[in-house]
């Protein structure tokens, strides 16, 4: 069958039209992909904003925690020392030389202890500085105050590998440590607290365990009551890590935060 020139020319015309439709769809595809790229970028910006807000919140919480410690210490420690100093001074009888010398020595001792306490508080007030010394040092410093209460037997172990993430991650990790310790103090009725830091080339792990009353993790999460626990999970995820909470009633709780560097 011979094809006429009319048919061939029609075919050429038709093919040209198809050749015109193809770029049209290509342009539409590029434009729609570009729109998706825009959406993705907006989402990324929003995530970054959320992260920045959360980081700011975390920094404020660290400061708040510091101020609380300062307030407790002023009331329970320095306040008591100064009261004792006042009582001792007012009880001095200048005619009783023997007792006066003893009492003055006691006042001197109390004053020295007060000065020491005020110096320690002053160091504590520089919350940012604490974290800048490194996570391990910040935790050690925080634990110093916890040990003073004599309510807990605190053990802190680590493999001496410094944290290699960025400062935002370090701040959030430190705040997570504070939140977990606060939970133990407020709810666990524990007597023993173990803290362990393990770092290697790829990961950084923080394990905090206690011998407290424990709780049913599923139940707490289902009731949506554990805002603190939700916060621990959320913040761990925010710094690209994950938190595992293992707890059973009576057997204490272990919280493990694992933070891969990449």
């Amino acid at each position: 069958m011979q094809i006429s020139s009319k048919e061939i020319i029609s075919l050429i015309g038709l093919t040209s039209i198809i050749f015109l439709i193809a770029p049209l769809f290509l342009i539409l595809y590029v434009l729609s992909y570009n729109r998706r790229k825009k959406k993705y970028q907006e989402e990324t910006v929003m995530l970054q904003k959320n992260f920045d807000t959360e980081l700011l919140k975390t920094q404020m919480e660290v400061q708040e925690q510091t101020l609380k410690t300062v307030a407790y210490d002023l009331h329970d420690n320095i306040g008591q020392l100064l009261s004792l100093t006042t009582i001792t001074l007012s009880s001095i009888n200048l005619n009783d030389n023997k007792n006066t010398a003893e009492k003055i020595a006691l006042v001197e001792d109390l004053t020295m202890r007060s000065i020491k306490e005020v110096k320690a508080l002053s160091r504590l007030l520089h919350g940012e500085e604490i974290i800048s010394r490194g996570l391990k040092a910040a935790i050690e410093f925080e634990l110093e105050w916890l040990k003073r209460s004599d309510k807990f037997q605190v053990s802190f172990t680590h493999n001496n590998v410094p944290f290699n993430g960025d400062s935002a991650q370090e701040t959030i990790l430190f705040r997570l440590f504070q939140e977990i310790i606060n939970n133990i103090i407020q709810h666990a009725k524990a007597t023993v607290i173990n803290i362990n830091l393990q770092g290697d080339v790829e990961n950084y792990k923080m394990i905090i365990s206690d011998n407290g009353v424990g709780f049913d993790v599923k139940k707490i999460f289902a009731r949506k009551a554990g805002m603190g626990l939700h916060n621990i999970i959320k913040r761990s995820n925010m710094i690209n890590g994950n938190a595992a909470i293992i707890s059973t009633p009576v057997n204490g709780t272990t919280v493990t935060i694992n933070l891969p560097y990449k």
Binding site: I9, I12, G13, L20, N34
Partner: protein
């Protein structure tokens, strides 16, 4: 009236838009559109004049024009790719290849016909260059609102024209011989009119985008 065809009118309107939007542009590549489009209009007018009044084939004029078309379009593509660290040597290699092909075809035709093979190869290269531009834009992580992007619309117009004309270019000799016999009108003429309208609308929009960009962010 014979000088007023779809092609000449669309080219002239596009030239006017380029003149209004680009004459204050500080970028030489964009500013060059004004002389290039002026040259296109002049070549079209001369082409019609030679065909209709002198009554001799006008391929020599288009053989001359294709040199400018190739150099300018290739240079403009290179200008668009420059920010993506595209190397100058590829532009020079392409120019060398084009010149070799052009001279070979002219000699082969004994200077007696339009360099259609060279024009077809040039079209394919420009289609590839346009597609590469899209590829670069898709790969680019930085978001750019393409709806208002002058380079994007210029490339789109160019792609439409050179991709759409591929079939006509490949069958140009066949069409020249048979289309008038088969139909009362030229299929090639209709398709090229359509392609010219699309390309010059896209280019005009690109110039307007460029003007708006210049007004919003003066360089």
């Amino acid at each position: 009236m014979i000088f007023f065809s779809v092609s000449t009118v669309s080219e002239f309107i596009c030239f006017l838009v380029a003149l209004l939007c680009l004459y204050k542009d500080k970028d030489v590549a964009w500013k060059l559109f004004i002389p290039f489009l002026l040259l296109t209009c002049v070549v079209e007018i001369i082409g019609i004049y030679v065909r209709e009044f002198v009554r001799i084939p006008n391929y020599a004029i288009y053989n001359f024009y294709i040199l400018f078309e190739c150099v300018f379009t290739s240079y403009f593509f290179f200008y668009l790719y420059k920010s993506y660290l595209y190397k100058l040597k590829w532009l020079l290699v392409w120019f060398a290849l084009f010149v070799a092909m052009y001279i070979a075809e002219l000699v082969y035709n004994k200077f007696g016909n339009f360099v259609s093979v060279t024009a077809s190869v040039m079209s394919v290269v420009f289609v590839l260059a346009s597609l590469y531009f899209y590829y670069v834009k898709l790969k680019d992580e930085h978001f750019e609102p393409l709806v208002y992007s002058a380079p994007f619309w210029w490339v789109s117009g160019t792609l439409f024209f050179y991709f759409g004309s591929t079939v006509c270019n490949n069958f140009s000799k066949y069409l020249a011989m048979y289309e008038i016999i088969a139909y009362k009108y030229s299929v090639r003429y209709l398709i090229f009119n359509l392609l010219n309208i699309i390309m010059y609308i896209f280019w005009s929009y690109a110039f307007i985008c460029r003007y708006r960009q210049r007004k919003s962010f003066p360089l």
